[in-house]
């Protein structure tokens, strides 16, 4: 099997979100002498790029994104030690702490953004829903995050986004982080009014802002 067909197989497994097929393809590729770096850059990454593009065209949706991201993470557990051994540690684009704010249980939008961030190479720490402002800040401090991303769907839960910024200020660490806000009841005006660093109307906007923040 040529390397090109190996790369296609890896890419296809990512697009299908099939972690078993991806792990098998990774094992076969390694056996054939393809390096971990080549597997990632020429096989898996193009697959992830294709997933993102299909999502932007509304051809695939959240489940496919989540499955592709999960398959990627499983494969990376095999590949990262190989990268380290070869002295070629894969650099994360950045670290993001993400969650839906306290009082709000809506997770879909946040999950879409989290999946897209993972696909774009970010290390994502997803705190789930109903996350207290202090929990965002503590996690960011713990993992050395670059970005805090807070989602709020309800008009009565958006004030919790402001709380995160207040907590950052109270700890004297506001300037360490880029704070991005989004969700059904938020807007650019709202983001401006609370002093957030960015507002993502769509998941794609959020990723573009995150990439800009770490560039």
């Amino acid at each position: 099997m040529s390397n090109e067909s190996t790369y296609k197989r890896l890419s296809a497994a990512i697009i299908a979100g099939d972690k078993d097929k991806l792990l098998a393809a990774v094992e076969d590729a390694l056996r054939e002498g393809v390096t971990a770096s080549e597997i990632i850059e020429r096989g898996m990454s193009p697959g992830m790029k294709e997933v993102g593009e299909r999502f932007a065209r509304y051809e695939i949706y959240l489940p496919e994104m989540m499955m592709a991201a999960e398959a990627w993470e499983q494969a990376m557990k095999v590949l990262e030690p190989k990268l380290l051994a070869a002295g070629a540690e894969r650099k994360k684009v950045g670290r993001v702490v993400i969650g839906t704010v306290k009082g709000d249980i809506h997770s879909i939008g946040k999950n879409i953004v989290a999946a897209m961030l993972k696909m774009s190479g970010f290390e994502v720490f997803d705190l789930g829903v109903e996350v207290a402002a202090s929990a965002f800040v503590m996690k960011a401090e713990e993992v050395g995050a670059d970005i805090l991303a807070a989602s709020a769907l309800m008009s009565t839960t958006t004030p919790q986004q402001k709380e995160i910024i207040e907590h950052l200020k109270a700890r004297g660490v506001r300037d360490k982080y880029c704070v991005l806000v989004g969700g059904g009841s938020t807007s650019q005006e709202w983001a401006n009014s609370i002093g957030a660093d960015g507002y993502g109307r769509t998941a794609g906007d959020a990723v573009a802002l995150a990439l800009k923040a770490v560039s």
């Binding site: 496919e64 999960e70 009082g103 249980i105 997770s107 009565t156 004030p159 059904g184 807007s187």
Partner: protein, 461 residues
């Protein structure tokens, strides 16, 4: 029908499952399987399908999916499972002919079928619109209640209490919810319709304690509580607590399901199946007197072509098989004082009404822009809904396709329109000349282009 206490028992003792496994190992594969098995395919050219076989296949897929998947309880991390017999038993014994409101303002929300001539129940009033002042709140609700075609009220969302921003779960949330109910009741009194049913008691309130506190200041037996499921096929204790309270005080429940197109349900086919599958869930778990669906595209909300298709297919599936009345609700991306806003509301409402549903008109401008709310569009839509009752689905499809062609190009960049303060007289609460002219222009267009005959005069237009 299974008792609510049995449902709670299952929530507490059902099979343990992680949320991730429920989503990716249970929900998604089960949904994909039934979509393929029953051959459910999105048809963009037919946003209002006239295919009974498709509707029946969606229903069959939905019931199979529900039996195999169950509902996930977030607080206990357990599955609430139902057998097919239990589901069918709920459908056979669910509520029928329930009266909403009281006195001369009382209404029955009818069970309707596709192409049914029975007039739909029309609810509105700025549901979920963000309003900055109690005066705007009062005027909006009053104007809507003054329309004789308005059957129920869904309330706007107050953003502050005496200048302090309302925060869910805080004392301000409780006070905001109480104040909303008192303001709504006062607006209905001013409109001369004190017994009008309040469909969504407290859009301002989110948490269970806020709903309960507000109802203490209203009429529990006739003011309804909206209780929602969580995306997708999930419930939490907060929702179940609202149900427990409503059952104890005899309050009616609007069981709300906003399936996210693009979320776990995937595309339009999955969204339709899951929306239909919620119907028995609304009976068994939420103890609803009405199913209140709003399939919502994750970026384009409720007026995109695929969301309209999913809504109409699911509505037809449900109305052909379940006695639980359906009241669809929807938003607009465009704000007040824009033609696009009129078109968006018209497109989803026409499809929903001919598919067998009643309607609830809620937020404009995505429910995000402060004070971007108006009573003119909902009042117009009441007339559209009545004008298309009894229309064939094929005829409605032609109209909806034409409407979509008018606004689809603007979905990603909709006009925000004007604030209430800009298009209404703040003292009288009546629309200004420009809004009245826009109303008349769109009404004429709908008659000239689509042959819609509006038989009901509006209060002031």
């Amino acid at each position: 029908m299974l008792s609510f206490s049995t449902v709670v028992e299952r929530a507490l003792n059902g099979p343990i499952c992680s949320e991730r496994d429920f989503e990716l190992e249970v929900f998604v594969p089960n949904l994909r399987k039934v979509i393929e098995k029953y051959g459910i395919k999105y048809e963009p050219q037919n946003p209002v399908p006239a295919d009974n076989d498709l509707a029946d296949r969606v229903w069959a897929a939905a019931m199979e999916f529900l039996c195999e998947t169950g509902v996930y309880c977030l607080d206990t991390e357990r599955l609430i499972l139902f057998t097919r017999d239990e589901i069918e038993g709920a459908l056979e014994t669910g509520p029928r002919g329930v009266v909403f409101g009281e006195g001369k303002d009382a209404r029955v929300i009818p069970r309707r079928w596709p192409e049914d001539k029975t007039p739909p129940f029309c609810s509105g009033g700025g549901g979920g619109c963000l309003v900055s002042s109690e005066w705007i709140y009062l005027n909006l609700v009053k104007a809507y209640a003054e329309d004789h075609l308005s059957d129920g009220i869904t309330t706007p969302s107050l953003t502050n209490v005496d200048g302090q921003q309302i925060i869910a779960g805080s004392p301000l949330g409780v006070e905001g919810a109480i104040r909303s109910l008192i303001l709504t009741r006062e607006a209905l009194r001013r409109a001369g319709r004190p017994g009008m049913p309040i469909v969504n008691v407290i859009a301002t309130g989110v948490k269970c304690q806020e709903h309960i506190a507000a109802q203490r200041f209203g009429t529990p037996a006739t003011d309804h509580i909206e209780v929602g499921t969580v995306h997708e096929m999930k419930v939490d204790f907060d929702s179940l607590n609202k149900v427990a309270y409503s059952l104890a005080v005899g309050s009616l429940i609007f069981a709300e399901n906003g399936v996210i197109l693009g979320g776990l349900s995937g595309g339009p086919a999955g969204t339709a199946v899951v929306t239909a599958a919620y119907n028995p869930v609304d009976l068994l778990i939420l103890r609803g007197a009405v199913q209140h669906p709003f399939p919502t595209h994750f970026e384009l909300l409720t007026s995109s072509r695929d969301a309209i298709w999913a809504r109409n297919v699911a509505t037809q599936a449900v109305t052909r098989h379940s006695p639980l009345p359906v009241v669809n609700l929807g938003y607009t991306l465009a704000g007040p004082m824009t033609k696009m806003g009129f078109y968006e509301f018209s497109a989803w409402v026409i499809g929903a009404v001919v598919s067998g549903s009643s309607i609830e008109i809620v937020s404009q401008a995505k429910g995000v822009a402060l004070d971007h709310c108006s009573s003119a569009e909902p009042i117009f839509i009441n007339r559209v809904a009545h004008a298309v009752a009894g229309m064939s689905r094929k005829e409605a499809n032609k109209i909806v396709v034409a409407l979509l062609e008018k606004y689809e190009g603007q979905l990603r960049n909709p006009p925000t329109g004007q604030r209430y303060q800009e298009c209404y007289d703040m003292a009288t609460g009546k629309p200004n000349k420009e809004l009245i002219e826009l109303y008349r222009e769109v009404r004429q267009e709908m008659t000239d282009q689509f042959g819609l005959r509006f038989q009901h005069a509006s209060p002031y237009l």
